[in-house]
Amino acid sequence: MDKFVRSWLAELKSYAAIFALVAVLACVPIVAQLLDNPFLIRLLTRAVLLGMAAVGLNFILGFGGLLSLMHASLFGIGAYVVAILAWHDFNMEPVLGFSGTSNVLIALPVALLCVGLAAMTTGVIALRTMGAYFIMITLAFNQMLYYFSISLQTYGGGDGLQILSTLTFNHFVITSRAQFYWLCVAVLGTVLIVMHKIIKSRFGMILQACAQNERRVKALGFAPLPYKLVAFVISGLIAGLAGALWAVGQGFVSPADLSWMRSADLVVIAVLGGTGRVYGPVLGAIVFVVLESVLSGLTPYWQLPLGLIVIGIVVFLKGGLADLFVGRRHA
């Protein structure tokens, strides 16, 4: 019995960093209130959602060894589905025989279904290849979906789509920025805990083994492809979930959300925070968003210092920011 309690405590302890991070994030609206700076909430909402997408990306990048450059497009599909359903609700036009909806609790599952299907179809093709081919193919798929979003003339084409109806959660309507922010933090916390569990599970072990040496995994009698495919779909779903919430929060979606540069941003965020830990990308997202906001306030040429910082990170900081805070994982 004592042993059971101790192992339970040990498991709880492995979540400590996640709990601490979520607790700190949850305090932000209070700090913003005290500082009388509502902009802080907007900034951190952006960080939390980009962080969530990067956590999804990092599931296959940091633990599956697969560098995907199409996660912005999966993020974008999630966002577009929410916006398109709301458009159909607002204009009272049925979509494929169903009426549109402004109920997020209905739109969200539909969005995830679409993202899951997209991730599965593209994943089957991309995962048959390896290494550099995988990177370039996911980049191409990202661009394909980007052009597709531009070609949606009914839904704003290249200008993007504004959500004109009031989005609801069944009958509940989110009224303040802080409420929405807390919702995002809660979802992020859930995602982190689920990710942590998956990575510690048998499935997660096999995924990490695939990243290290696929031939040995095969020799042990596992077929790597199904594991990688499921991981790719899970990873895409989390990016799509972040995208759907992004649409809810911004009330606007645009093809720019799907651009391949955004995909590369997500990789930068994951690496900046550290790919070895589940919550690393969240730290990366906070730093990235603050950096972006500070630099773009200083100069219109803010991408120049950002680019130099990215190059600097690759050259100097191998384990990401998480290492600076917690010390190296592999001592």
Binding site: L67, A132, M136, Q303, L304
Partner: protein, 290 residues
């Protein structure tokens, strides 16, 4: 579609194809020999267009400006390779993607600092402007025909060099197995530096020829870069022949896709084509690595 339209679109498609080939040739060899993913290749394309536009303005002589622009693009490539990329041959693809992405951000903003955000005017000389009738009822811009001719000539020249000279043999040997080629006495780093500079000049050439057709502006390189990546993936990494065939295939498919199909599908044709080819041959049509 009328025959006139067919001929016109075929010319457009082949012209896009040779342009993509110029972009892909350097990219596929750089990747084949040094296993380096260079996302900043599109920056060299952009630089070529900006250099040519500026040098035309300075010198007033179109051909002199072209030569200077090619030299400047090659020089920029050498600087890029020598100062940053050289350190990344042995590193992971993740590091390479990040560092070349960083380079894109830097080059884009430096270009913006120097030339501003407004597209730079790039006129073509009078003897290349206007059009000729390539067949009754079809006037076609002379400049586009010149681009087509230059592209095909360069492709032919490149093919002869790679397939029939000693240096070309070294390049092919390096692309199919770098370590073995090195063991047999090929100076792989030197060959690679030459290939990188030549690839940069070719990307610059593609850019400066595209300049008058599209617009000389920041960010013009990235869409082309992604098409070039599609080309080298379809053609098989490290293969010049594969890059040429795939470039024409992609150029023609893209052009006809946009004309014949509804816009939503037309813009996706080449990516669907890529997916189909890769589902059939995961390593591309002519992979150099066995």
């Amino acid at each position: 579609m009328t025959p006139v339209l067919w001929v016109e679109q075929t010319l457009n498609g082949v012209q896009l194809g040779v342009m993509l080939f110029l972009m892909s040739a350097g990219l596929t060899l750089v990747f084949g020999i040094m296993n380096l993913i260079n996302l900043a290749h599109g920056s060299l394309y952009m630089a070529g267009a900006f250099f040519a536009a500026t040098f035309t303005l300075w010198t007033g002589n179109f051909f002199l400006a072209l030569l200077l622009a090619l030299a400047a693009s090659a020089l920029l490539g050498v600087v890029m390779e020598y100062s940053v990329l050289r350190r990344f041959y042995g590193r992971s693809h993740l590091d390479q993607v990040l560092v070349t992405f960083g380079l894109i951000l830097v080059v884009n903003d430096v270009t913006r600092l120097i030339w501003g955000v407004v597209p730079v005017p790039f006129g073509i000389p009078t003897f290349l402007s206007g059009s000729v009738f390539v067949m009754p009822g079809l006037p076609y811009p002379i400049f586009r025909l010149a681009v087509l001719a230059v592209g095909l000539l360069v492709a032919l020249g490149l093919f002869l060099i790679v397939a029939h000279t000693r240096v070309g043999m070294w390049i092919r040997a390096g692309a199919s197995d770098r370590v073995m080629a090195g063991a047999l006495g090929v100076d792989v780093p030197l060959i690679f530096s030459i290939v990188f500079a030549a690839g940069a000049a070719l990307a610059g050439l593609a850019g400066l020829m595209a300049g008058p057709i599209t617009a000389v502006q920041v960010g013009m390189g990235e869409p082309v870069l992604i098409l070039a990546l599609v080309v080298i993936v379809v053609g098989g990494i490290g293969s010049i022949r594969g890059a040429f065939i795939a470039a024409l295939l992609i150029g023609v498919a893209d052009t006809f896709g946009r004309v014949l199909l509804p816009p939503a599908l037309g813009s996706m044709v080449i990516f669907i084509l890529m997916a189909a080819i890769l589902a059939w041959r995961p390593r591309g049509l002519f992979s150099a690595h066995g």
